[in-house]
């Protein structure tokens, strides 16, 4: 779009074109090389490796759970942030963005430090039989931590795009706030919830640094790719990587499709 507005082909135009071409090549060449390196036979063979299938499945299911948890707990928070003005709102918003800027291994270490026997929360969890270290529960905890901001921010933007007057009118017609949310707000905002869900899931499925600290085993796909690379080399890690990228691309196209398709009522 930007390029079309520069009508006269000045040197500046060619400068912008060259920079764009370099960036596109920088993103696409390694990915295309990766996707085309293993033959179809090898790719199919990889799927017969039960460890690989288990790790990819674990990745999908833990990221999906993280997105679901974000959906349940994040939606009301996003609604509150979109609808009310209060002292300390900016502060809460920055807290929600914190997981984006904290180095990933630090997140893993931080979560382990509250899950251990030295912490009250850790002792409670132990009493309840919840184990964080080396368990799917731990993986889901970490993935929710890193994925939440993406869900909340997307849904908050969605809620902000719905005029509060619609909710006001609904309430003056006799609907409680719960009814209003389900009959007015949700039908108008579900698209942004799907977008948030996918962004949160995509962020979670690509997490490595925080997970490897909390749970090396059971292995999610990124950890398995790392392990195969360390033990056997590039050639053996590529096929799993291809499958993981394929899943991420699927998520990505789903996101573009949902986000860009025009709503019926507009």
């Amino acid at each position: 779009m930007k390029l079309q507005t520069i009508k006269i082909r000045e040197p500046f135009f060619w400068f912008t074109v060259s920079c764009s071409a370099i960036i596109l090549a920088f993103i696409l060449i390694p990915l295309i090389e990766l996707m085309t390196a293993p033959s179809a036979d090898v790719l199919l063979e990889t799927l017969k490796d039960r460890d690989v299938v288990r790790s990819i499945w674990l990745s999908i299911y833990t990221s999906g759970s993280a997105a679901l948890i974000s959906f349940f707990f994040g939606t009301p928070l996003a609604f509150m942030l979109a609808r009310s003005e209060f002292r300390g709102k900016r502060f809460i918003e920055s807290i929600i963005d914190l997981p984006i800027v904290i180095p990933h291994p630090v997140i893993g270490i931080a979560i382990l430090s509250v899950a251990g026997k030295n912490h009250l929360l850790g002792r409670w969890m132990e009493a309840l039989g919840i184990r964080i270290m080396g368990s799917p529960t731990g993986i889901i905890t970490v993935l929710t931590f890193v994925g939440l901001p993406f869900y909340i921010n997307a849904v908050k933007d969605g809620f902000e795009g719905i005029p509060q007057r619609l909710e006001n009118v609904s309430r003056s017609l006799g609907a409680s706030m719960f009814s209003t949310f389900f009959r007015i707000t949700f039908p108008l905002a579900w698209r942004s919830m799907v977008v948030g869900f996918i962004m949160c899931g995509a962020r979670a499925i690509s997490e490595f640094g925080a997970v490897v600290i909390v749970a090396y085993h059971p292995m999610i796909a990124p950890v398995m790719i790392y392990e195969r690379f360390e033990s056997y080399g590039l050639k053996y890690s590529q096929p799993i990587a291809v499958w993981l990228v394929a899943i991420c691309l699927l998520l990505f196209f789903l996101l573009r499709w949902v986000a860009l398709s025009k709503p019926r009522e507009a």
Partner: protein, 345 residues
């Protein structure tokens, strides 16, 4: 019936201060004031959509001040209509029915009446995005009245409309009001709208009620310079009042009756001032000689500024009068007006 007693609303950028109003059951009441005076805030406070700091709101002998919006029996129609964009017209209209214990047969009959009265039957399946401004307005009205509210709040219902539709909606509002038991409270910045629809009215300015009462009284006897100016009393002068004479410098103006002691100014509506080439003979009138200072065309009529001893009187004339009198800037002219046309405030 609505009674508002000593209501205070405090928002980040705005305050409503000590609002007291009494509106009779099934009355058509208007709240008038310039943009930013706090009209919409007051409506939202009555509907329970804005928290109030102090005071009481009583609707039909029920104190609703601390009730949630859905328990108040107050419908609101916003300026931008706020139709639910994902619901068809008929689903918009019937939205609130399930929350009210209205007999189904009666509800269906009532909806049918509203649809016919507001001429909506050909639009029922459409989504709001495919409606014109006037159509949206009518759907909003039907939706608000379908739940048989005790009070209908109307937030500037004419301002988003094409002027051609204004008369239509005005008539619809009138007949809806006659066919309904609800109390109508309309907010407007246009005094003409209030005059054509309402029995009583209140003028709000900077978060305070300046005057309330019969619409004719507000029009005829404004209590403050702001109200006078707002209802179109363009000739507003500070004056020294002594008996039935007001002195504007050397100018002595006759009044019809003795003003109240705290009066400090006089006001004359521009349409009350008559311009003539020769002094008119009617003895009791106020007659002054002046010169035309300015002629301002305003569509089909002209506002004429007449300088009488450095005091500018404003009068309104039609095109014919302008030519008959041969008025040009600088020409001499007589102004005359009845003592009854002079209001003291």
């Amino acid at each position: 019936m609505i009674t508002i007693a000593h209501l205070h609303v405090h928002l980040l950028s705005f305050d409503l201060i000590d609002i007291c109003l009494h509106i009779e059951a099934n009355e058509f009441f208007t709240l008038i004031g310039p943009t930013g005076a706090g009209k919409t805030v007051l409506l939202e406070a009555i509907a329970g959509l804005t928290p109030v700091q102090k005071g009481q709101i009583i609707i039909q002998n029920r104190n609703v001040t601390s009730l949630t919006p859905e328990k108040r029996g107050v419908s609101i129609l916003y300026q931008d209509h706020a139709l639910f964009p994902h619901l068809s017209v008929i689903n918009n209209i019937t939205y609130g029915l399930r929350y009210h214990p209205i007999d189904e047969k009666r509800a269906r009959q009532r909806i049918q009446e509203l649809i016919e009265l507001l001429n909506l039957s050909h639009l029922l399946k459409r989504l709001p995005a495919h409606l014109s401004g006037g159509e949206k307005q009518r759907v909003g009205l039907a939706r608000a009245l379908a739940v048989e509210p005790q009070v209908l709040l109307l937030d500037e219902p004419f301002s988003a409309l094409d002027p051609n539709f204004k008369a239509d909606i005005r008539n619809s509002l009138k007949s809806l009001h006659q066919n309904s038991t609800a109390t109508f409270l309309m907010v407007t910045h246009d005094f003409a709208d209030a005059l054509s629809l309402a029995d009583r009215s209140a003028v709000i300015h900077q978060g305070r009620i300046e005057q309330s009462g019969k619409i004719e009284d507000i029009f005829e006897k404004p209590v403050s310079p702001f109200v006078a100016d707002f209802v179109g009393m363009k000739n507003l002068f500070p004056a020294v009042l002594n008996g039935t004479v007001a002195s504007l410098g050397s100018l002595k103006i006759k009044l019809s009756q003795k003003p109240s002691d705290h009066s400090r100014s006089i006001a004359i509506r521009p349409e009350e001032i008559i311009l003539t080439k020769n002094p008119s003979s009617s003895g009791s009138w106020n007659v002054f000689k002046g010169s035309v200072a300015k002629i301002i065309p305003q569509g089909f009529i002209y506002e004429i500024h007449v300088d009488v001893g450095h005091i500018i009187f404003k009068a309104m004339v039609g095109k014919n009068t302008l030519f008959q009198l041969g008025l040009t800037e600088g020409s001499d002219v007589y102004i005359s007006f009845r003592p009854e046309a002079v209001h003291s405030l």
